[in-house]
Symmetry: C2
């Protein structure tokens, strides 16, 4: 066991595991879902809301924070978790994903990526060293290596090249990291090619990091492919380090991937969908703006004990949404985040009781009701 | 003393009073500020937020609720205070003010006002009977008489006519009201003309209501005129009934008008300004989006103990606002509402100690610092 991760339970029938990640800002029980706080705030939610939902760690986006308010401002306030008053574990991504998905006019070479800000078009540059420099100033509990995110689909030869570049960049990230208590996770690439994933997993582990992430999935490939790749990659990941499936996913994805041995997840889906009136429940999705809910006295989810479900009817929530009230966005976000965090909390409990297969079965049975 | 209002203290040096309004949904200590929840929700704030700020009663707008979700939907859920889960005293206005300020193509005659919805242009009609019918279904603790809001400035003869119409409409409102435990307040009009105000006050009292409001102020007249009219109208208002100055105002207005004998206030200013980054503090206004706050570790107001001031720096709040984060609007609103409710709470305490003049003096001295 490494000093920053304790594996405390393994399910008997699946690859599911329960553990604890120890960070300089506190412990994180796994499996865990990490709400995304792009510019430091998980949209519409306060730190108190997040704690009430059972959040243990939140994510910040390096690309966005670099643009605004800049890493120097965040550093002035003592780092991300103090700046936003979360005062608990945080994780920053490397900025790579946003450079490849948001920025304009990007040019990649061996050293790094030149691009233009999506906000004002200004010229910017990210490299492994620059990403680590920014992330060090942002001061999150966990940093991520700067990697290349290849488009999906990409052909084998390009992905193979990219795996090599990801390895070289990972080495540079490790070299650039200072010894200040922050953890640094490596990222395994390789697209949908099992042999490249295996190669990348081995290369990244050889460099040696505090945890390992699976990058480059949930980028448009079919679910079944994502599950197959995840299943095969976790075979090549060390047991005594946390495993993070980046940018995933739906409730179904989480419950499946936990069974494949994944410990950590992040996704904008619960908050973004909430702002679009799409709510997750134990019995499937609810589109809260539908007219059928106008007179509904029911909560969003009768099994949910979040503030929204304990206090508000579908009828009132529909009215708020239809009237364009900002409170709707918050109450919806609160529910969706609570739903995701309850899923992983219940998963942890099931794994500790070595009962994860039954938990999965019940989850899929119920969610198919609607 | 009437059974629904207890006057519990009178200041020795000013006309300030402290009391308690007893409603079917609970007690309200006066002087009080009522946050405005136009369509049922005080924008960005949950009922828990409002309670944490010290709110005792919130206002709903009859015009807006009539359009959306309609009074029948609100009635289905058991009335406004149950629909929005506030579960405490509420007040609805008559719809008159919005008809005169928001609606299109209005035509007023002796019976009522025909107009078109500002949302979809549909033809609508409000009269004293219709307003009371809607407000009865909305089920607020306190209803308001349907009155004519004259434009400012209006000449003496038009205002004199309007005072007579307001009297006739008030009689019809009283007749239309059913005996279901809701309180009904009369509204005194008369523009800026002291003799018309006196006449209106006498006429409305003669009909007899559960409380009396001063309408038609804070509509563009100079502050000094508003204070003079308020001072003269409270001379003609009964001591044993609550007094409500509608649509007022700034912190300075509240502190002044409390000294003139007013008990209740409502205004969108704290919430609307919050959404525009303008924050109220004991030392004057703070424009939180200013660059000077980029690195500020200070809270909005060092004397404030609201959630926002206890947890967030001006620097972080500026960042949230500049980044367009919805959390900024809520944290700002929370602070401004807390500020207003602290002002009236401290005023109540000062009046109970018969020390209101000193409280006023200190308030104005401090707020002039900036």
């Amino acid at each position: 066991m490494s000093k920053h991760f304790d594996l405390i339970a393994k399910d008997k029938d699946t690859k599911a595991r329960a553990g604890v990640v120890h960070t300089m800002h506190g412990d994180v029980e796994t499996p865990i879902f990490m709400p995304v706080g792009t510019v430091g705030s998980v949209k519409t939610l306060s730190p108190q809301d997040l704690r009430d939902c059972g959040a243990q760690i939140i994510l910040g986006n390096t690309y966005h924070l670099h643009l605004r308010p800049t890493e120097d401002v965040v550093a002035h306030f003592g780092g991300l978790g103090k700046f936003n008053s979360w005062n608990a574990p945080t994780l920053t991504d490397s900025g790579g994903f946003q450079v490849f998905s948001l920025a304009d006019m990007r040019k990649i070479n061996e050293d790094g990526v030149a691009f233009r800000s999506h906000l004002d078009g200004s010229k910017l540059y990210l490299s492994p060293e620059k990403s680590i420099e920014i992330q060090t100033k942002l001061g999150a509990s966990i940093m991520m290596c700067f990697d290349e995110c290849v488009a999906n689909p990409s052909d084998y030869s390009y992905v193979a090249e990219s795996v090599e570049r990801t390895r070289r960049w990972a080495e540079r990230c490790k070299t650039a990291k200072v010894d200040n208590g922050q953890l640094l996770f490596g990222i395994i690439q390789g697209g949908v090619y099992h042999d490249l994933r295996k190669r990348s997993a081995e290369q990244i582990q050889e460099i040696g990091f505090d945890g390992y992430a699976i990058g480059g999935l949930s980028v448009g490939e079919p679910n079944q492919i994502m599950y197959e790749v995840t299943d095969s990659v976790t075979e090549h990941m060390p047991e005594d380090q946390p495993r993070y499936l980046m940018g995933v996913g739906t409730p179904e994805d989480l419950i499946t991937a936990i069974g494949l041995g994944v410990d950590m997840f992040d996704c904008v889906m619960p908050t973004r969908n909430a702002r679009n009136a799409l709510l997750f429940t134990s019995r499937g999705k609810v589109h809260i703006k539908r007219a059928e809910y106008t007179l509904s006295d029911d909560p969003i989810d009768p099994e949910c004990d979040c503030y929204t479900c304990k206090n508000f009817s579908r009828g009132y929530l529909r009215h708020l949404y239809k009237s364009g009230e900002l409170l709707a966005l918050r109450l919806n976000s609160l529910h969706n985040i609570h739903f995701y965090l309850s899923l992983v909390k219940n998963a942890r409990n099931a794994i500790r009781e070595s009962n994860y297969k039954e938990y999965q079965r019940e989850f899929f049975e119920k969610i198919k009701i609607i």
